[in-house]
């Protein structure tokens, strides 16, 4: 019986592993490493695009090593705009970039390893045009010749206009939860007090009761 359960467990673990390690799709990559938004139930993606509905989105970026050698990939958020045929990048101090955070800024990858990095985006509300941020990724440059060539891959974060808005995030408004909590704690206190009074009334009742007659051979 135990062996059977172990077999089921191993099978489930294998399945979970296969799902976790399934190769990324829609990826951008260099000859040695790559990065891609994690696929969703709707399939592969090439950007982290979400409606600008005021919600907080928890997304995932996959960074992977294509080689048998360890590699370190640096990640960072970029203010991003598009003009004159190029993307311009800036510090993530304002706009969507300021509302985007990544789980780590440096990923050390072993041979053929992939790492899932959480991305949290506080989506804006009520934008009329698509707004952008970027998540930049780069590995160290190889230093040879007059120019060291560094490759940078950028996955865009997109806030798309929408007419459907999420309710205000509860994390920013603790008052309803505080009222519920206070009410429940008060109810708990009342139950404690009720129990205490019951105990007291039982004890005082036993003191007033006349002593029982002695039973046994006289």
């Amino acid at each position: 019986m135990r062996r059977g359960l172990a077999g089921v467990f191993v099978g489930m673990l294998t399945l979970a592993g296969a799902l976790l390690m399934s190769a990324p799709a829609g990826a951008v990559q260099t000859t040695t490493w790559g990065v891609t938004p994690a696929p969703t139930s709707q399939g592969q993606r090439t950007s982290l695009a979400h409606p600008a509905d005021g919600s907080t989105v928890h997304d995932v970026l996959i960074v992977y090593n294509r080689t048998a050698k360890p590699i370190t990939v640096h990640l960072y958020v970029l203010g991003t705009s598009y003009a004159n045929g190029v993307y311009q990048f800036s510090p993530p101090k304002t706009g969507l970039a300021a509302d985007t955070t990544i789980g780590t800024n440096s990923v050390k990858l072993g041979p053929y390893q992939e790492v899932r990095v959480p991305v949290t985006i506080h989506m804006p509300r009520g934008v009329k045009a698509q707004t952008l941020a970027g998540i930049g990724a780069e590995a160290s440059a190889i230093n040879d010749g007059s120019l060291s060539i560094m490759q940078q891959l950028v996955v865009l974060v997109k806030a798309n206009p929408t007419n459907h808005f999420a309710p205000p995030p509860i994390t920013k408004d603790l008052f309803p939860w505080a009222f519920i909590a206070i009410g429940l704690i008060t109810a708990a206190g009342a139950l404690v007090e009720l129990e205490r009074r019951k105990n007291r009334s039982v004890r005082s009742g036993s003191r007033l009761r006349p002593p029982l007659p002695a039973i046994g051979p006289s």
Binding site: A27, T46, N84, Q152, L156, A188, E195
Partner: protein, 364 residues
Amino acid sequence: MRRRAKLAIIGTTVVALGAIAAPALANQSVGVSVGFLTAGPTGTRTLSVQDTRGNDLTATGAVLDLSGGSNSFVTKVIDSNAGYANTGYTVQAMMSDLYPYNGTSFTSCNQNQLIQSKQLTLSSPTGLLDLNGISSTLTPVFSLSGDLTSILGTTLLGAGSGAINNQTVTGIGQSLSQGQIAGSGNTGNLFGTTLAGVLSKLPIQIAGNPAGGSFTSPAQDPATSGCTNVPNSNSATQVPIMTGTANASGLISDLTSVIENAVSPVTSNPTAQQLATALFVDPNAVLTMVCQTLNITCALLTTVQQNSILSTLTDNLSTNPVTLVNNLTGQSGTYSAQPGMVINTQGIIPGGYRGTMTVTLVTN
């Protein structure tokens, strides 16, 4: 009774604490998790930077030598395994200042001795753009018309009409090769005037930067230089190398032409039966569309009626060209640009220099 009351107290307290904790937990991020690639990515877009002989310039030992005042390199974007659908890209570059370098280490951070990034100009002539291995997967949508009144009769239609007017039916997914997209004589590398002639028919329209541009504002100083004159790349000038604009609509004429030539006999007004025989549409999808449009029960159709329906409905591709479902479901191809880099050597102190060029790929 006392035990029940205690449980109630504990339960209520736990719920209360949960109510307090819930907002905090709702915003918690999951941690970084690790796995291993069991196979190559199923759909990839790869950036490659090479010298003109095909050596990877990001590999150890590869050199882009600018000692002669100019040089060229090749940037490639390779879509493989049909992993991308209707998605363009931008390849661009930024450049740091170049600092004196003696072959093993940087020797100075003095701003009077360096080569400023703005002394370097990069151009990407359209004539040197090149592509090959283009293919696309896509699903056509047909617009079928025809009068089925005499076929269905009053038994099925009652007093209604059996007219079908431009009702759409989603066809079977197709894969178009480079020859089918760019013409049978264009199966190899496409460049120059040949490329310019077929550009509008391609799933990705590529463009270079023939006018060129200088790196007016420098990127961050090279990491190993130890210099901090330019501590970050926040205001670095981005110079375009190659853009690829998604152009799914350009495939409509290609696909229409493929369909016209594949049905037998060749016609621009094929019947649903011809389209089905050539595997462009599922006949059951056509019959389902008819039954839904005319509000009749498909199970009541005889085999003779079904065949007659398929032979009667036609798509006049000249006036009603196919449309594409979800534009594309996949695209493959290799797109190359060969930018040239020129240094304005005026005022430069002879010697060795080194800088960092960052080539960026953004999928739109």
